[in-house]
Each structure stands twice: as C-alpha cells, then as structure tokens.
Amino acid sequence: MNAAIRTTRLTKTFGRTDALASVDLAVPEGSIYALVGPNGAGKTTLIKLAMNILQPTAGTAEVLGKASHAMTGRDLNRIGYVSENQEYPEWMTVGAMLAYLRPFYPTWDRALEQQLMAQFDLPPERKIRQLSRGMRMKAAMAAALAFRPALLVLDEPFSGLDPLVRDELIMGLLDRSPETSIFLSSHDLSEIESFSSHVGYLEQGRLLFSEEMTELAARFREVTVTLASPAAQKAVPPQWLHYEASDSVVRFVHSSCRGEQTAADLRQMFPDAKDIEMEPMPLRAIFLAVARARRGQRVVAAHERSQA
C-alpha cells in the first residue's frame, strides 16, 4: 500500500512533556483519513511534524514519499494545508489572496478556483480581516483545493463552524476525493463519521488504533447476553471493554468482533445464554468506549504503582 503520509516511531517532546510517543501511522493514498482524539492528544503536533513546521525529537515522517524534515518549498506545491488557527494575510482580499497564490502552483486550475468561489459563495473583494470564521475557512479551503493537491492536510477544519458551512466544506472535500488524499484532525467524531474512509485514534500522544472505518465499525459491537441463570464470575478477555454483569444480563463492548465466528465463540462461552445481541456501534460510542477503557487501565496501573 502506498502511503501519502507515513510516520515511523515519530516522537515529539516539549520540555518534559511527551506530545507524541513513538507513533507509527500510515495514511493510504486516496483515502480520507481522520485523526481523532481529545484536545491535547497530539493531533496538531503530528500534523505540524508531517508538514515540517516542527522538527521531531525522534522518528521520521514521510509525506508523499519524502522525509518531512527534508521538504522544501517545491514539495509543498502538491500539498494543501488548512488549519483553524493559522495567521492569514489579513490585509488581502479573497480575490487578491487567490491571485497571489496562483503562480506558486504549476497545477493551479483557474476553472476550479472559480467553481470553488461559487460553491463556497466567497466574496472576492472582501478583505480577509472582514471575513467571519466560516468564510475564512472556506477561503483557505478554496486556496488549498484550487491547485488539485495530491494531499490535503486539515487541522481541525470544522471546529466552531455552523452546520451549513461544515456541510459545504465536506462537500468540497468529497468532490476532490479520491484524486486527493485527505488527512484531517478533529475532536468531533460525528462530523467525520459520515465521510472518512480511515480513522486513527490518538490519546496522550499515543496512537491507539489506525484502520479503515468499515473495519473499525465491523470490529466493535455492543454485546448483550441474556442468560437463563445469574452470571457467574469469569475471567474477561482483554478485547471485552466495560464488562458488566447484573443478574442474568451481561453487557460489554467487543473490540475484536468477527461476525458469526464471534457469535459462535460467545455461545460457547455462555452455554446457558437465552439470547445474544451484537449491535453495531456509532463511531462516537466506539471512541468513548476505547477512551474510558484506556482511562480505566491507567487508573489500575497507577493504583498498582502506588501499591508497589
């Protein structure tokens, strides 16, 4: 698999704080890869390392086949970048900004630029400092899409936008895929669920998983086992998250579900089960389950350390 972005043991520390800890990640070409995680998880740091805005403490990042630390300006003419907290040339009008950027990109498409201006309803004569947050993001997105980039990197692009603007931006993105690989970060799961093909979950600088959205959705199931008699205490496999047993009902999140095979395994484990339900989970529920499980593990580990 060719990767638009590949990181190998990518690590970044700021003083004594580990912002990223040995992250291995691959963004397949043509994919829409969503990097999700809570605030402060290290998403922006990872993106800035990939864009050569920051230098890694250890490890490497490759972007479109080139080590990010060796990227020059010329390499950026295939990469679009939009961030929620970028400092834009406030004094320029939208039209002047696009006109200024045009000569930087050999692949700039004037027709596409016009199309994006119309699609995003951008006022060409208005100065950027006079734009609302949503309009500003749309202007930035137009500038990042008009040269048909091979890779589009978006750092929290939808943060704080109203649903209408968000949908317009998502439509703009979907129009470019799969011609353009898209790598975006977000802490809002619901907004990326509808259009992402791949997802990675970052928490406290560690990548907990990274896989195709369909695989992820298939892998996680909310399992409810109704038993004929009260459940006996038993050892819980590590892939069962949030295991709860009350009277004759057992509930947990299965994180390695394999369809019928898993159902057969469960029937074997619960021979007196009257009913076994395996419900698909929305992305938000999956991440909450994983995050809570991680938090629980950390609490246990901390407790064990304090006992030791």
């Binding site: 800035k48 864009m51 805005i53 920051l54 020059t72 300006g73 010329r74 390499d75 950026l76 003419n77 990469i79 970048y81 961030s83 907290n85 970028q86 400092e87 834009y88 040339p89 004094w91 200024y100 950027l101 000569p103 930087f104 990109y105």
Partner: protein, 522 residues
C-alpha cells in the same frame, strides 16, 4: 515572473504607504540639504537660514531612520519567520527566493534611494557623481552592514513589531554598554584604524549567518544566539583593537630624531582634568621637536606607566590624543597638552611625591605633498584632492571672513592650509593700516573610510584657521579678520609615511592636585 519578483510585487503593494513616506522623506532631505551650497553664503540672515535648514535636515535624517526601521520590520514580518502558525510556511515558498525578494525590496526602496540621494547631493554641491562610484558603492555596503542588515536580522528573529522595537532598543543599549565597558576597562577609547575592517567583517559574518539560517531553517533560537554572539564579538574586537598587542603590531618601535619632552613652563603646568571612580585624567604639557623637514607627525595615542619611588608601577590603557598634529615648518618646538590617565589610588598615594613616567606614543608620520596655491577668488573654487571651497561673507557683500569647504563622500586626506588675513575689510580703499597676518590650520583625516554614512553625499570640511580674530581698540570682544580676494591661500596635502612608536621617560614628575570639589574619598 519568478517567486522573488512575485513576492516583491506583493510587498510593494502591501507597503505602498510606508514606501511613499520613506521616499518623500528622502526627497525632502535632498531638497533641503543642498541649499547650504547652492545659496550664497552672505550676511547674517542667510547664515541663520542655513542653520535652520541644518536643523531641518537633522530632523529629516531622524525621520528617515525611523521610516526605514518601520519599513524593514513590516517587510520582514509580513512573512514572519518566528512561530508555527504563519500562513506562508505551508505554501511553496523557496527560502532563497523569499530572502531574495526582501533584499530586492530593500535595495529598491532603501539602498537605491540613498545612493541616488547621495549622487544628487554630490551633483548639487558641484561634484561629478560618476567620478565617485567606488565611494558610492562603499557607502552602500556600509549602509547595508550597519543599518539594513541589523534591522533585518532583528525583524527576522522577532514575531511582532512591538518585540522588534524592544529588541532594537535592547541591542542598542547593550552595544553602548559593552562599548563603554570596553572603553573603560580595555581600550581607553583608542583603536587602531584598520580594526574597523575587522569589525565590519565580523558584523557582516554574524548578520549574514543569522539571517541566512533563519530564512533557510527558521531556527529562531540558534539564529538569536548567532546574532548575540556576533554583537559580543564585535565588542570584543573593538576592545582588542586598542590592546597593546595590536598597537604594537601597527606602530613599530623607531629610532627617529623626534623629541618629546616634559615642558612644565611653556603653557601652564600639569593639571587634573577630570576625576572618575577608577581613573584620574591629567593634562601634561610637552614639547614636540625634531620633526624632519617636509613631514608632520600626528600623536594618535599614549600609554603611560607610572613608577613610584618604592617601585610600585601602574600602566594605563592606550588613550587617544585628539588634535595633536605637528609639522616641521614654523615652530619646531611646539607645546601640547598631553591627556594622561592614572589609577585613582596610585594617584592619591603618590601625591606630592616624584614619580617616573614611562610614555609610549603611537605616532603617525606624514609626508608633505605638492602644495596647491590659489589667489582667493570671489566664488567657489576647486582644490584638487581636497574639495570645493566657498568664500564666506558673514557681513557686507564682498567682505569675506572665512572659507567653507566640502568634499565628496568623505573628509579629504590631511591637508595643511595657510592664508593671509587682512585686518581691514576687503575693498576698503586707502584704509589698509597693517601688514597681512598669517593664518594656518589643519583639515582632513587619515581615516581610511572610502565614504561617509548617511544620505548626504557631501562632507563638510572643517578648517580652524589660526589668528582669525583680532582685537580692536575701543571695541568689546574680538572681531573677525578678513580673507580678501586675491590674497594667497595654500593647501599642502600630507600622505601617510609610517606608523611608529616612540618611548619617552619623564623623571621626577609630580602629580597635580585634585580639581576643586573632588576628594579622594568620592
């Protein structure tokens, strides 16, 4: 259009008002300054007007400096190199093109206007600008090294205009403080003249490295360290430039017949000039004699080692001597006050006791060239190698009382000027009552700078001619003598012959008293 040109066009559009203000100030300066030479130097009213124009030109110079500072900072920070949120760093900018665009901008809107302004002022002052292209080139290099690059470097390692302003002030204060410290503790204020080239080279190296690194890698802290190290190195170089080793390297020991002797009787005795916390400044009268015919000597600096009767010794730094230039012709045994420095505690301990002074002099020897003589004209006249001089009429029309001279880009080389003063106003028929009075004075410098710093291409050449005043019976104060048309004026150029060190010992020297109001406990 290449990237540099494209960015340049954007910056020009963005900073058009700053550019317009900066250019307007340069144009105003170029209009104001030449009035000094283009208008006749006649009468007190005109002289007052010229003084006003000089004040205005000074004000415009300050405003020009401020406008360049704002222009450079805004230019560099329009693509700020500090931080990780700038829009441009994720666009396909090539750092060399970006830096090139900024340099192109600075050349177009600061460098070129300065060179043009210098050329215009030269032309207005009667010089041919094309004859001074190397000097104009040097001037541009100096402006780049001492003005443009330092401001560019500061803007490149700061994120906002406010921070750049504070940093500029901080660097200025640090530089002054380091120079003052070096002057007090290391150099005594003297430095060998070629050290300026070392300072220039160090400054350029530090600035170019810091700026280049910041543009190529955006390693802000590394760039800051390089620039700070450069500042310290420049100060160290300045300090070392007055060290005994460098003075010894520049001024070789000599067995010349030049005689320097202590002369307490000629023009007053030795006296204390000033008293600081560490040092005491003392003026010591000396005789200078033995200057070979056709030559002159310039006492550049002195280092004193004072030796007490009990063997205690104290050695000063090399201290500059100002205006101590003597020639063989005329008075072969001239008296001059020598500025010496002594350690305060040594000075206090050796009061009223005889001490021995071992003096080392750094002396520049000058050789006289072919004199140029001219009968005083009524209008501007050119002195080859010296510049253009204008008779100054401070009173009635046609009655000249002084010479005002100017040269292109720099002071002329050292020149001895002689005139014949008339006690009577020029053109006063039948009223000549006395013989002409000889007047003389030095002008020019031995400094090797090819051009001055700033926008004005013309250097005013100061000549302090002796005997320019006379006392008339029944009048209060002195009145000026007159330089009448037709009277002879001679300009004798001097060139560098050598740099020598002369060692002299004054036995039984007695330290003078402290100046009134000073006490040893202060």
């Amino acid at each position: 259009m290449n990237q540099a040109g494209h960015i340049f066009a954007k910056d020009t559009r963005h900073l058009r008002w700053e550019i317009a203000i900066s250019l307007a100030l340069v144009i105003a300066y170029v209009v104001v300054v030449p009035a000094e030479w283009t208008q006749p130097l006649e009468g007190p009213t005109q002289m007052v007007r010229i003084q006003e124009l000089r004040v205005l030109a000074g004000l415009l110079s300050v405003l020009m400096g401020v406008s360049w500072w704002i222009l450079i900072t805004r230019l560099v920070q329009s693509e700020s190199l500090v931080g990780d949120r700038q829009w441009w760093i994720t666009k396909p900018y090539e750092w060399s093109e970006l830096l090139g665009s900024k340099l192109l901008f600075l050349a177009a809107f600061i460098g070129l206007p300065i060179v043009i302004a210098k050329a215009v002022t030269l032309a207005e002052a009667g010089f041919t600008p094309f004859a001074h292209l190397p000097g104009l080139g040097y001037s541009l290099i100096a402006i780049v090294a001492f003005l443009i690059l330092p401001l560019l470097a500061i803007a490149a390692v700061t994120s906002t205009f406010g921070r750049a302003t504070l940093t500029t002030l901080g660097v200025f204060v640090a530089f002054i403080a380091l120079e003052a410290l070096a002057s007090v503790f290391v150099t005594g204020g003297f430095s060998v003249d070629w050290s300026e080239w070392i300072v220039l080279a160090l400054l350029l190296a530090a600035l170019c490295s810091g700026i280049g690194l910041q543009y190529a890698r955006r390693k802000t802290w590394t760039a800051r360290v390089i620039l700070a190290a450069g500042l310290v190195l420049v100060c160290v170089a300045t300090a070392v430039a007055g060290s005994s080793a460098l003075v010894a390297m520049t001024y070789r020991q000599s067995g010349s017949p030049l005689q320097l002797s202590y002369n307490p009787d000629s023009k007053g005795s030795s006296f204390t000039q000033w008293a600081g916390r560490r040092l005491i400044g003392v003026s010591v009268p000396i005789h200078v004699s033995g200057i070979a015919a056709g030559t002159a000597v310039d006492l550049n600096a002195v280092q004193v080692t004072a030796e007490a009767a009990d063997g205690r010794r104290w050695t000063s730094n090399w201290v500059p001597i100002w205006g101590a230039r003597y020639r063989a012709e005329g008075d072969l045994s001239v008296a001059a006050p020598l500025p010496l420095q002594f350690d305060r505690s040594f000075f206090a301990a050796e009061q009223k006791k005889p001490v021995t002074l071992h003096l080392r002099f750094a002396v520049t020897e000058l050789r006289a060239g072919t004199p140029y003589s001219v009968a005083m004209p009524k209008q501007d006249f050119t002195v080859p190698g010296f510049g253009i001089c204008t008779p100054v009429d401070a009173g009635a029309l046609g009655d000249y009382t002084d010479l005002s001279c100017r040269n292109a880009l720099r002071q002329p080389s050292v020149t001895f000027v002689t005139v014949e003063w008339s006690n009577d106003p020029c053109g006063s028929v039948g009223s000549a009552t006395s013989a002409p009075v000889a007047g003389e004075g030095w002008a020019g410098t031995m400094e090797r700078n090819q051009a001055n710093f700033g926008v004005n291409g013309v250097e005013e050449v100061g000549i302090q001619l002796s005997n320019n005043q006379q006392h008339l019976e029944g009048q209060q104060g002195d009145v000026p003598r007159h330089l009448c048309p037709g009277s002879p004026i001679t300009f004798t150029p001097y060139s560098l012959s050598g740099r020598k060190e002369y060692d002299v010992t004054f036995e039984n020297y007695q330290m003078p008293d402290m100046p009134p109001g000073y006490h040893f406990g202060d």
